[in-house]
């Protein structure tokens, strides 16, 4: 109060004006959350999704008031840019782990005040070419296309084990089955989905059998319904989504090869929302399609491009417990985060 009284009113006014301008500059200088509102659909009051954040790299995390103030003025300097992020997952510690396949890094983000900020970027000597990641209760699973295996790490990223199988050729899409505490590994060249325990023990396979509809042709990704353990496999070359029960029995499938909405051309990622909505990303279309459990198309959004809300051959999808849809957009070197307003 004493300090304020020593200023003249005109000086105080000037100070306030400057503060307002600084605040405005924060929005311009920062590269964190998008200030542009992107909703899908764009023309209805309650959209299905809205773009919340685009992660393109790391930003300095201000630690003190002065650092934050300085950041307001000069903007946040990006320490690095994501290098072809192909997959992501949120582990039990609430960390967002992004696989940068081109660089071989695992970038770790933590949420602060609703925003994902980079905390660390690590490179694992044992893993040369990771493309997919999954997180269990106390373990992290990362594939390595360099040696055709899946590594098991603890939450400190210490290597604790390896999963491999004689039939395993190129383990790609990883997903954690929280219902059965299992890891699903989609292996496109092997045309199967391997199932392992979180300890690394082989359990079984999906995709081979007498039921022709259940046979897989280059499975790309999987997702699991935590409620009942149903497994949804994105069968790439068949251009279908195939459903299996928790005991690996084929249930149903939908989808066909075409170029119109509801069909698939080069599907790459699949995720299941809490309300049963299946999200399928298609690299050829550059979009995300939403289906109900029967395979009926509900909605699709996005298109090929480099702007926010557009995608360049979108890859893996991930939905967290708060129904945020994470889309790996590797050729734009970013991860886009959408808020899904589940029904």
């Amino acid at each position: 109060m004493i300090v304020i009284r020593s200023f003249k009113p005109s000086q105080i006014s000037l100070f306030l004006v400057i503060a307002v301008i600084m605040t405005g500059l924060v929005g311009c200088a920062s590269t964190r959350q998008t200030t542009e509102t992107i909703n899908f659909p764009a023309d209805i009051p309650q959209p299905f999704l809205s773009l919340e954040q685009v992660i393109e790299g790391a930003q300095d995390t201000p630690e003190g008031l002065f650092s934050r103030f300085l950041g307001m003025i000069v903007g946040q300097e990006s320490k690095f840019s994501l290098n072809q992020p192909t997959d992501m997952v949120i582990d039990q510690m609430g960390r967002l782990l992004i696989v940068e396949s081109e660089a071989g890094f695992i970038s770790i983000f933590v949420k602060e005040e609703g925003e994902w900020l980079n905390s660390e970027r690590i490179s694992l000597a044992e893993i040369k070419y990771p493309t997919s990641i999954a997180a269990g209760a106390d373990k992290i699973f990362i594939n390595d296309l360099n040696n055709g295996s899946v590594h098991i790490l603890d939450y400190d990223f210490n290597l604790v084990g390896t999963m491999d199988h004689a039939d395993m050729q190129r383990p790609g899409g990883l997903s954690y089955d929280s219902h059965s505490n299992r890891l699903l590994i989609a292996d496109p060249p092997a045309n199967v989905v391997f199932v392992f325990s979180t300890e690394g023990e082989y359990i079984g396979q999906l995709g081979r059998g007498s039921h022709t509809q259940g046979v897989l042709q280059s499975p790309i990704a999987t997702t699991v319904d935590p409620e009942n353990g149903n497994i949804y496999v994105l069968d790439g070359m068949a251009r279908k989504v195939k459903q299996y029960d928790a005991s690996f029995q084929f249930v149903s499938s939908f989808g066909e090869y075409d170029q119109v909405p509801g069909s698939f051309a080069f599907p790459k990622g699949i995720a299941l929302a809490v309300d049963g909505t299946l999200f399928v990303g298609d690299a050829a279309f550059g979009n995300i399609q939403m289906f109900d459990p029967t395979g009926a198309l509900l909605f699709y959004f996005g298109e090929t491009g480099t702007d926010k809300g557009q995608f360049l051959m979108p890859r893996s999808l991930f939905i967290d417990q708060e129904q945020h849809l994470f889309v790996a957009d590797p050729y734009n070197n970013r991860v886009q985060i959408f808020r899904y307003y589940a029904q």
């Binding site: 192909t86 396949s101 081109e102 660089a103 040369k128 070419y129 493309t131 296309l145 360099n146 050729q169 190129r170 790609g172 496109p188 060249p189 280059s218 790309i220 790439g236 070359m237 090869y257 075409d258 170029q259 119109v260 909405p261 051309a265 080069f266 790459k268 298609d282 690299a283 050829a284 279309f285 550059g286 979009n287 699709y300 298109e303 090929t304 491009g305 360049l312 051959m313 890859r315 590797p330 050729y331």
Partner: protein, 692 residues
């Protein structure tokens, strides 16, 4: 109920529709394609509805030479090659050929580029290539052959032109140390990808930063002996640079001089060089007045290297008959020392006959020089061998090179550069034969030099004013001792007419002397022909070096009697104990108190008509009568017809007896008038003397 005929029609129609669906995929040209094509070519799917299609519009297609080409973009490749299928994308992570690569500096002829005119995967690769495992297949799914570098040369043709770039399609020795993963062309030949891995992590194999040492030495291991020598410019001239690069210190030993691409001339030079000037231009470019090696400036006063073809094969130097003599004929610029391939010099160290980048040393056997000048090898067993004490003493006293040849000959500069003397040979010889050194002194009463001469055999001399003047090399060939009569290789031989480095043997016949003095040939077979076992007739009386007198270069006569040196010379034999004791001269002296005018002074003829002498020697003005006034000891008779000799020691008469040609203009009558005859008889006729 549907009748059978209608069923048939319906079934046929269904079949047609199905066939259309199954087989009716169409490409943009309207041609039917198989389902295999549609696997990738989504847009060829038959159920196309442009308004409903989710496929993005391609705003700008792939192009070839600027024209649209119906070739898919990279997106089609990445739909599968995103890690889903087994591919080599891991190797794409490099600084070599990758997506969005600028193509400003190359000339792309027939390969497609993306809409921005940049390289993309489809530029080189196409799934429509036959499988690599099939005959004719291009691996891996390349548009053009890589084994022959065809795909590289489609863009980089300017990087393979001869004489500017490192050659390709050359066979490489199996002894190379290139990595196992190195790509080789057909039959182990070198191709572009041998050094340039297209998708590797290093831009060029074995290159770290600016250091190409590992790469170059993988094949050119022997050339790497250059490291840390004066030709390793990264150490010897680290603060200087070539005209096309950074300081030498930022480079490697090879790159200081050679660049792999767009170099100058055949050797891919990193500096300006006039390649048309020939191979030596690479050397002279630096070893010139203003070049980087100006401290070792090559002067043309040394060994010839221009337009000089060799006539024989010299395997030791890798020379074939017909090859030109070049700097590199003697020098290996990559190796400092002949015998120690890894020898280094501590920066601008002065070379020796064993180093100096010589292919062979100029040691005591003169290996380098003798490889061409084999005819000079006789010097090794002579007193002119550097192994002899004479030269060893000289080496101890001077900084001269110790090479057999270079001790006298300068390979690159005249050994006598700086000398103001006209006669270089004498100057060179006198460096040792000066009386101060071990060699025989020739400083005292020698055969005249620096005089014009006429030689039957065209003996050498030195040139001055369009004349050839006599020098040491007229009579001597310092490389050839001559006939050695002693059995053991005796050091410091005492020479004679059979050897002594004479150009022409002077024994038994004095051919060397007679080559210039043919008129003295009359001496042979006369009573004055005193040829011995080691001395010719000339050498009995004359000594070309260290003579008793400067005039006549008379050999020493010991304690001979006589009033003049002529008399002493003659009386050394014509005395009672001498070899000519039967021809004694008793009364012989014309009074010496009377000087006589010589014919040239009197204008009556040549000096030889009536030679007169003083104590110093011949006089062309006033002198005394001496033995040689009347006698020519070289000629028995002044008339040829009387020159034919009879039995040895035949008694002479007034037409022989080594008498000169009598002249009507003799001085005797000029002074003595009518008493001349009386006086003549008195002095020369003992019988008539008694009458007087």
């Amino acid at each position: 109920m549907i009748g059978p005929f209608k069923k048939l029609i319906i079934g046929f129609a269904v079949l047609c529709l199905c066939s259309t669906f199954i087989l009716g995929q169409h490409n943009p040209d309207g041609r039917k394609v198989s389902l295999d094509c549609v696997t990738c070519h989504v847009s060829w799917h038959d159920n196309i509805d442009p308004e409903k299609s989710l496929l993005p519009n391609i705003e700008a297609p792939i192009q070839i030479q600027g024209m649209p080409a119906r070739i898919p973009t990279a997106a089609m490749c990445y739909t599968c090659h995103d890690g889903t299928v087994k591919d080599s994308r891991q190797t794409f992570a490099s600084s070599n050929h990758q997506m969005d690569m600028d193509v400003k500096h190359v000339d792309i002829k027939s390969l497609p580029l993306d809409k921005n005119g940049k390289i993309y995967c489809g530029t080189c690769h196409t799934p429509h290539s036959l499988k690599p495992t099939r005959v004719g297949g291009l691996a891996p799914f390349l548009r053009m052959e890589k084994m022959s570098s065809a795909i590289c040369l489609d863009c980089h043709s300017n990087q393979a032109s001869a004489h500017k770039n490192h050659p390709i399609k050359v066979k490489v020795s199996a002894d190379n140390s290139m990595p196992e993963s190195t790509f080789w062309g057909k039959d182990g030949s070198m191709e572009c990808m041998t050094c340039h891995p297209i998708h590797g992590t290093e831009s060029v194999v074995g290159v770290t930063g600016n250091d190409r040492s590992e790469l170059c030495s993988s094949c050119h291991a022997a050339y790497f002996n250059i490291k840390l020598t004066d030709h390793d410019l990264t150490s010897s001239l680290m603060n200087k640079s070539s005209n096309i690069g950074p300081d030498f210190s930022g480079n490697d030993p090879c790159a200081a001089c050679h660049v792999s691409h767009n170099g100058q001339g055949e050797h891919m030079w990193s500096m300006d060089v006039d390649a048309k000037a020939g191979e030596n231009a690479y050397c002279v470019g630096c070893h010139s007045d203003t070049g980087l090696g100006q401290e070792k400036n090559f002067s043309h006063t040394g060994h010839p290297v221009s337009n000089f073809k060799l006539r024989k094969n010299i395997p030791a130097l890798g020379i074939k008959a017909g090859d030109k003599l070049l700097c590199k004929s003697c020098h290996d610029p990559h190796q400092w020392e002949f015998s120690n391939k890894h020898a280094v010099n501590t920066g601008n160290e002065e070379g020796t006959e064993y180093t100096s980048f010589l292919r062979l040393p100029d040691d005591a056997q003169g290996q380098l020089c003798i490889s061409c000048h084999s005819g000079q090898s006789s010097v090794f067993d002579s007193d002119h061998s550097v192994a002899r004490e004479g030269f060893q003493q000289y080496f101890r006293e001077s900084n001269a090179l110790h090479g057999q040849c270079t001790v006298c000959h300068g390979a690159h500069t005249d050994a006598l550069e700086g000398s103001t003397e006209d006669d270089p040979f004498t100057v060179l010889c006198m460096r040792c034969h000066d009386g101060q050194h071990f060699a025989t002194s020739v400083v005292h009463n020698n055969h005249p030099i620096g005089v014009p001469f006429t030689s039957k055999s065209n003996l050498h001399g030195y040139k001055k004013d369009n004349q050839t003047l006599l020098s040491c090399n007229t009579c001597h060939d310092p490389h050839k001792w001559g006939q050695t009569v002693e059995n053991s290789p005796t050091v410091d031989l005492n020479g004679d007419d059979r050897n002594s480095f004479l150009t022409i043997s002077n024994w038994p016949e004095p051919k060397l002397c007679l080559d210039c003095h043919p008129e003295q040939e009359t001496l042979l077979n006369s009573d004055h022909d005193l040829t011995e076992a080691d001395r010719s007739a000339c050498s009995f009386c004359h000594a070309p070096h260290n003579a008793e007198t400067e005039y006549g270069i008379f050999a020493k006569w010991g304690e001979a009697p006589g009033a003049s040196f002529n008399e002493k010379h003659c009386f050394s034999c014509h005395n009672e104990q001498g070899s000519a004791s039967e021809k004694l001269v008793e009364g012989y002296s014309h009074p010496r108190e009377f000087g006589i005018l010589a014919p040239p002074a009197r204008g009556t003829g040549d000096w030889l008509d009536f030679p007169l002498f003083t104590e110093a020697g011949p006089s062309k003005t006033v002198g005394h009568i001496d033995c040689f006034t009347c006698h020519n000891p070289h000629s028995w008779s002044y008339k040829l017809k009387y020159q034919e000799l009879g039995p040895e020691n035949e008694e002479g008469n007034d037409l022989t007896s080594f008498l000169r040609n009598p002249s009507q203009l003799t001085l005797c009558t000029d002074c003595h008038g009518e008493s001349t005859l009386w006086k003549y008889n008195y002095y020369h006729d003992p019988v008539k003397r008694k009458r007087y």
